[in-house]
Amino acid sequence: MVDASRTGTVTRTRQSTIGEMTEAEAISLAQQGDAGAFERLYRLHSRRVYALCLRMVGNPAEAEDLAQDAFLQLFRKIGTFRGESAFSTWLHRLSVNVVLMKLRKKTLPVTSLEESTDPEDEANGPRREIGGPDLLLTGSIDRVHLERAVEQLPPGYRQVFVLHDVQGFEHNEIAKLMDCSIGNSKSQLHKARMRLRELLQETLRDIARQERQEAKAGGSE
């Protein structure tokens, strides 16, 4: 353990010890300005934070800016962290706040959760594909399919879906974060899931069509 108080200045952490530092040690040293400690915290959490930002905005360049802003805010405030909650939880919530605040400020399309994005979605009953059966998704889709479908969601739907189904926020928390009612949060999530279902069913149909064509091409040879 590096004792930064003994010399009165920050003792430089050797590169070889950065990877061995526990999160608690890194937090303590980072609160004293140690560069190696900051890097350790970054290495521990950057992938998760970046992934969250990427899923919420769907754009790698924007996600990079937002993740960097999240870490900047985190490290500026690290002196106020008292350990009442898990550091990762604190960082997670901070990251979400940063993303949402930036989305409000920037000209990125932010769907108001108070408005319906598609009037046709208000129709009674689940949508049915005319001329085609409802394909059962279970066992037919994987994480990659879902991730691609999420990228195609309208921004408002994507944000709520990522916050609730991926990140595990409750509707009351989402309502506070996005400045809307709980009812609207639930409504938007439902619409997001319905849209995802449509996208995934289209994906399955495309896959089935391609397989038929390949089988046909193979049979004619």
């Binding site: 993740a67 870490f71 490290f75 059962l136 889709i141 595990g168 279902r197």
Partner: protein
């Protein structure tokens, strides 16, 4: 229950199992049963997404670190390096050379066995020439006197050593050379920093060690190299 009612229940559901009435509807309605199953599949895969991270580009850390350093949030990577560096780099760097440090340690160990006799010899050589007031004076006068004594003894000792060709003689000769080099460095530091007491103490120590070695050489000569 109608399908639109089932969908409203699905929308308001906050995790957990569906109400009995809704479950009963799914037993009769294949469309709603598939809808509920699809929502479960999507939710299950979404939970997997949470565990999948993405690699940010390395430039993100570089940019972040530069920003934090500019704001002063990160401190001390350069300050710490300077804070542990020696106050007198010209003097202390001598001991950072492993060869000199090792030779110095070897000389101390070699002289340990004869230090009682040799210290008397050194003190007598100085005290016979200096008054207490002169002893407390600046280094140059004490240095010059002691140096003369050491050189005079040294010349005799070297002459004796040169007449003999033994392993002990070679060792003494090499050690004397090392000590001479060390004395030269010490003298230079004292000359450059006359007020540096530590430098003077090291110079005294170096002279003492040379005296010890010369005494050893003298003793070796007297015994004809038999010791």
């Amino acid at each position: 229950m109608k399908c639109n009612e089932f969908e409203r229940i699905l929308e308001q559901q906050e995790g957990g199992p569906l109400p009995k009435a809704a479950l009963a509807h799914t037993e009769d309605c294949g469309t709603c049963r598939v809808l509920a199953a699809d929502f479960d599949a999507i939710h299950g895969l979404a939970l997997e997404l949470a565990t999948v991270d993405a690699d940010p580009p390395e430039r993100m850390w570089i940019s972040l670190r530069n920003q934090l350093e500019a704001e002063g949030v990160i401190r001390g990577s350069e300050t710490a390096a300077r804070s542990v560096s020696p106050a007198n780099p010209g003097w202390w760097t001598v001991f950072q050379r492993p060869a000199v440090a090792g030779a110095f340690l070897g000389l101390v160990l070699a002289a340990a066995g004869t230090i009682g006799y040799l210290s008397n010899f050194a003190q007598t050589a100085v005290q016979s020439q200096l008054t207490p007031a002169q002893e407390a004076s600046s280094v140059p006068s004490a240095e010059s006197v002691f140096k003369e004594e050491v050189l005079s003894v040294g010349s005799d000792s070297f002459a004796g050593l040169q007449r003999q060709d033994t392993a002990v003689t070679d060792s003494i000769r090499r050690n004397l050379q090392i000590v001479d080099n060390f004395i030269a460095v010490c003298e230079k530091s004292v000359h450059e920093q006359p007020d540096n007491q530590i430098a003077r103490e090291y110079l005294y120590g170096a002279y003492q060690q040379k005296a010890e070695l010369l005494a050893t050489a003298m003793n070796h000569n007297m015994t004809g190299g038999l010791q």
